[in-house]
């Protein structure tokens, strides 16, 4: 980004540095706000359908355009032309505002993602925290939607959705905390730079926690209770139709890509690859390609998970978050902190081993605790049964 600005200033002398910066920012945000969503939605809906189909041993969309690639655009046109019905006593303002907020929240995450070497919207000092904070806006949007549609089920759905989102935001924060501990900074750019060894290998447990929590945060697959067809009527956006529903849909997919992007940045080393470097245009392009490939891989994993796992009940879902992921996160953070401070740790290699060890220990500890609890609850259940008859 800086290189681009400098290039601009050199080529167009009348431009002052600030003005050049402004132009570059406008261009990049334009791309992010307009081009990226469309591309992402189209591409990844197609991909999703194809992957699911493959998993369910069927072909998937192949009618619209060669190999069905244009399926996304077909959906888009359909959405545009559908009639948009607003319930009579709905709270019109809030009702309309909800989808906007949902989309904005999803897009804003990209501001911080280091898409390519040197190319990053705003490398905030507290980038990671920004990502989490923006995620919180999604809940507000859900509540607004649920409340304004004056529909009992919508409200109930909104409550459940928010409960789930809240429950899984904490593990995300704790996983990110572990990463920040290891990386020593919150700037995403710095984290990418710190990942000589991708953190996935250094902090495997944190990686898994983040992956699972992100899936739940997006509201997909095993945790897709929100808009599951067979559940309570597609969650809080039951009263939405037409383009508003489309934007919820776009929001969801943007959120999917954003989360995947975050995961790749934090754990897979973002744009780092064999030749990626910010000095040459080629290097930048290579970096970008690496970033997209990795993100797609993560998304593929999510789709794969969606295809295979069954849906989890709401109370199991919440218990899983509060009684397993959050304690695990806490233990993880403590373990990483202690591991880093061990006297012997001085060379990077040793740090890696220490952190790996910490993660393993944390996992084992959690396994033991869970098994104990499980056995106790099982015996309690048996006693109850024995008692009953």
């Amino acid at each position: 980004m800086e290189a681009l600005i400098r290039w601009l200033v050199d080529t167009f002398p009348p431009l002052s540095e600030a003005l050049a910066r402004l132009i570059v920012y406008v261009l990049y945000s334009g791309v992010l706000a307009f081009v990226a969503p469309v591309l992402i939605v189209v591409a990844y809906t197609y991909m999703e359908r194809k992957v699911l189909a493959r998993i369910q041993d069927r072909v998937g969309p192949n009618r619209a355009g060669p190999l069905g690639v244009l399926q996304g655009f077909a959906d888009a046109v359909k959405m545009l032309t559908k009639e948009d019905v607003t319930p009579a006593c709905a709270d019109r303002v809030v009702f309309n505002l909800a989808p906007v907020l949902a989309t904005v929240a999803a897009i804003l995450v990209f501001a911080v993602l280091p898409v390519a070497p040197g190319v990053i919207g705003a490398d905030l000092q507290a980038g990671v925290l920004y990502v989490v904070a923006i995620g919180a806006l999604g809940e507000v949007a859900a509540l607004m939607a649920g409340w304004s549609s004056d529909n009992k089920f919508a409200l109930l759905g909104a409550f459940r959705a928010v409960a789930q989102l809240i429950a899984y935001e904490i593990p995300i924060v704790l996983a990110i905390l572990a990463v920040v501990l290891a990386a020593g900074s919150m700037q995403l750019g710095a984290i990418v730079a710190a990942q000589d060894i991708p953190f996935a290998l250094v902090l495997p447990v944190a990686f898994l926690v983040l992956l699972v929590a992100s899936i739940a945060e997006i509201g997909r697959s095993p945790f897709d209770l929100l808009e599951a067809e067979s559940e309570i009527v597609a969650g809080y956006h039951v009263e939405y139709s037409g383009m508003k529903f489309a934007f919820f849909f776009i929001g969801e997919y943007m959120h999917l890509f954003a989360s995947a992007g975050v995961i790749t940045t934090l754990f897979l080393g973002g744009w780092r690859g064999p030749l990626a470097s910010s000095d040459s245009l080629l290097g930048v392009l290579l970096g970008f390609i690496y970033f997209v490939v990795k993100t797609t891989a993560v998304i593929w994993i999510m789709m794969w998970v969606r295809g295979t796992l069954f849906r989890i009940r709401i109370d199991h879902l919440l218990d899983f978050a509060w009684k397993f992921l959050v304690p695990l996160g806490l233990i993880l953070v403590v373990a990483v902190a202690v591991a880093l401070k061990l006297p012997a740790v001085n060379s990077p290699a040793l740090r890696w081993i220490a952190l790996l060890g910490a993660n393993v220990i944390a996992a084992l500890l959690m396994m033991i605790v869970i098994s104990l609890l499980a056995r106790r609850s099982r015996s309690a259940a048996l006693r109850a049964v024995a008692g009953a008859d």
């Binding site: 600030a18 000092q125 989490v132 904070a133 923006i134 919180a136 409340w147 004056d150």
Partner: protein, 184 residues
Amino acid sequence: MAIEQALQIFVFVILTLMTLGGGLAVVTSRNLFHAALSLILSLAGVVGYYVLLDAGFLAIVQLLIYIGAISILILFSIMLTRGLMTPRQVQRNEQWWIAALVVFLTFVVLIVALWQMVWPIADDEALRTPNVAISQLGEALVGPYAIPFEIISVLLLVALVGAIVLARETENNQGSHAEAGSSE
């Protein structure tokens, strides 16, 4: 630099509109849900303020905690304590005009005090480089401010326990309430 300042002033004006407008909405709006949402709007404005005041981390923390957690809590409690769409009630109690008067006077007095006071503005050089690195902040939190750091955790624990006791205690009432609700 002129553009820079003009831009800042412009942004300041917008943010002020957001904050004060939101505030007024919070105070006057009939529908409580709208009040809560305008509160969120006002808090977002405050986030912008912090950005303008070069307190980046603070802005994000405000965003995260206030908008992310507290407003959710408020929205939850609003929805939990009132039936959906209760009929419009006049939101102002009978003593509102006294309050208005007193508030206005307080505001006037505060403004006069502000304008009279000569604030020891730091010298220009310091003003220019305000940014405080987050690691410094971290060291401060654990170093000199270790005790408040621990106390805040205790405070949160206490608040949580208290809230749970109050909320949970309603568990058995809830049971009765549910019947009451359904029996109506």
